[in-house]
């Protein structure tokens, strides 16, 4: 696509940045933060923690009292604010769309500011509408004629129109309902997988931070960072009680979202096709048998209830319990596998491949072993991050 050769860049560095307002309030206090180019860094924290102020200092909507902010090594104070901002996309909660401009002209704003002919800018707007999943038929609508979710898609398209290396997003998805929010988050993640922008996103929603962030900077009140870490590390090893409290009590379970099921040991002995017999099921020596039909899961059979049946009875004719939901090996996380096991009458999760064909089953014991292995691996992963040179506090 036309983004494939997006030039790199977009490294943002905060060096001892402080923002003190005339009334003495300290919004940001000696902030050191490095946002690696091409990564999504989420600033999260309670209201009044300085996260939005920090964001707005990047495009000079707010000027720091002390300290320096560098963009690709250049002090942003050296740059003309208007020119600096045209290279930084900006998305806000209230969308800030221009009510008097059509969708396409809203999206074309920065290209037009950069001197593109209107026709070319509108063509570009059309490409972006497709990119963010907007029906091109909406091009000549005005913002008030769109739903909240559509408006925010326009907001994202407008921010991306001039292909800036940096994208700032201030509570971008907070004003829409949870279903739309989830779809916008998914949109952002799929765009980011393709575009590799440097994204700084502000939210008060720790779930959102964990979902979309490569790195999460958790702020304390008054502008200090409590912990800066990849989301799985934030869940696994909160720096202190403040972080643990903010992250929430079920962080142990949520952390499993980041553990792959690719390495999980599966039990293949508990799987039999529908034309296998009761005798075979008894011989397998498992309390539950996962019966398959054309290699797809058909149901769970409780071996204790079939012991009295004639040995030649086909398993396909025996009453089976529903399997609940299976998990896809390698694609789904350990959290999904654990959920599948909890919901299954057999207390085991059925593992399938990408085509939905059964690979085996996973018992609680096997899941527990995988969880423990993940804990063991955790240290090595931290080391990897350190070698890549993540931002230091």
């Amino acid at each position: 696509m036309f983004y494939a050769d997006t030039p790199g860049g977009g490294l943002i560095t905060f060096e001892a940045v402080t923002k003190r307002y005339p009334d003495g309030t300290v919004a940001v206090d000696g902030l050191d933060l490095e946002v690696p180019a091409g990564k999504t860094v989420v600033l999260v924290g309670p209201s009044g923690c300085g996260k939005t102020t920090s964001l707005r200092m990047i495009n000079r909507l707010v000027e720091p009292t002390q300290g320096t902010i560098l963009l690709d090594g250049t002090d942003i104070k050296e740059r003309n604010p208007a020119h600096l901002r045209r290279g930084i996309g900006y998305v806000i909660q209230q969308t800030g769309l221009f009510p008097h401009r059509t969708v396409e002209d809203n999206i074309a704003t920065v290209p037009v500011l950069n001197g593109w002919p209107r026709k070319k800018a509108r063509a570009r707007a059309g490409e972006l509408m497709t990119l963010v999943g907007l029906d091109p038929a909406l091009a000549e609508r005005y913002p008030h004629q769109l739903s909240g979710g559509q408006q925010q898609r326009v907001g994202v398209a407008r921010a991306l129109a001039a292909d800036p290396p940096v994208l700032l997003m201030d509570e971008p998805f907070s004003a829409v309902d949870p279903v739309v929010r989830a779809s916008l988050q998914d949109l952002l993640m799929s765009l980011q997988a393709e575009l590799r922008k440097t994204i700084v996103l502000v939210t008060h929603d720790i779930e959102e931070a964990i979902k979309v962030g490569d790195l999460v900077a958790l702020f304390r009140p008054h502008g200090k960072i409590a912990q800066l870490a990849p989301p799985e590390q934030l869940l696994a090893a909160p720096a202190d009680d403040y972080v643990a409290g903010f992250v929430g009590f079920d962080r142990g379970i949520r952390r499993l979202s980041f553990v792959s099921t690719a390495e999980l040991t599966l039990d293949t002995g508990a799987v039999l096709p529908a034309d296998a017999t009761v005798a075979q099921a008894l011989a397998a020596g498992r309390p539950w048998i996962c019966v398959t039909e054309a290699q797809r899961p058909r149901g769970w059979v409780d071996v204790a209830t079939i012991a009295a049946l004639p040995g030649g009875t086909a398993l396909g004719q025996v009453r089976a319990e529903p399997i609940g939901h299976p998990f896809t090996v390698g694609t789904d996380s350990l959290r999904a596998a654990l959920d599948a096991a909890v919901l299954s009458p057999a207390g085991q999760a059925v593992a399938v491949d990408d085509d939905g064909l059964v690979l085996g089953v996973a018992t609680f014991d096997q899941l527990r072993a995988a969880i423990q292995a993940a804990d063991g691996n955790h240290d090595t992963r931290q080391v990897q991050h350190a070698q890549e040179g993540p931002p230091s506090l």
Binding site: A82, R85, Y90, I92, G96, F98, P99, H100
Partner: protein
């Protein structure tokens, strides 16, 4: 009512209507031209507005005839005197609307404009003023209508307008003339007002107006599923 009076005085009526139109429209336009920069300053620097508004309100409280008389030493019994006085009055109704219109531009919109790299002047010209147009034009409508009716008073210092028909009709105890004058002032005000409504429609195709939508357009939108 003596209908035959109308055709036999056609050219007088036409002349007076034209004079009254000028005395109504020009002051409102001048008022707009002065209000725009003043309003922009007042909207940008909030401390400017209270003193300006106080002066404007005091001027507005001055009776129109008194203001005409006060201006006579400088400008004589001329159109200029009336136009200046009426400009002051329309300024009084237009300026608050310019300020209100600019202040009503959502903060998120101006912030987004700045964040996208608009300079202050360009933002004012292409974002803030266009968005303030509905409120500014609402002020202009009041200004035009007020000037059209106040222009009659100018007749008292001899500046011709439809007011002539009132004074002449009264002096000659000839009601037909008064009725014709009254009718024309009202029609003139209505026509100017409708023109400004049309101008507003043309300048703000983006403004939501669900109730005023023509039926045909509504139906078309329903067919294409746009109304949802």
């Amino acid at each position: 009512m003596m209908w035959s009076w109308i055709p036999s005085n056609w050219s007088l009526i036409w002349q007076l209507t034209w004079e009254n139109t000028k005395l109504g429209v020009l002051p409102a336009l001048y008022g707009l031209v002065i209000s725009l920069p003043l309003g922009v300053l007042a909207a940008r620097w909030r401390w400017v507005y209270p003193p300006v508004l106080t002066v404007v309100n005091i001027l507005y409280a001055v009776p129109s005839l008194a203001l005409f008389i006060a201006l006579i030493p400088a400008f004589g019994l001329t159109d200029t005197t009336v136009i200046i006085a009426l400009t002051v009055f329309s300024l009084c109704v237009i300026l608050p609307n310019v300020v209100a219109g600019l202040r009503a531009v959502p903060a998120a919109v101006t912030q987004a404009a700045t964040a996208m790299g608009y300079g202050p002047l360009r933002r004012l010209a292409t974002v803030e003023l266009p968005l303030a147009v509905p409120v500014i034009l609402a002020g202009l409508r009041i200004g035009v209508v007020a000037s059209i009716s106040l222009a009659s008073v100018g007749q008292l210092i001899g500046v011709s307008s439809l007011g002539y028909l009132f004074i002449d009709g009264l002096q000659r105890s000839f009601p037909t003339e008064i009725y014709v004058g009254l009718f024309l002032v009202i029609v003139l005000a209505l026509v100017c007002d409708l023109i400004l409504v049309a101008v507003k429609r043309a300048l703000t195709p983006w403004a939501p107006r669900p109730e005023r939508q023509p039926r045909r357009q509504q139906r078309r939108q329903q067919l294409t599923g746009a109304a949802s």
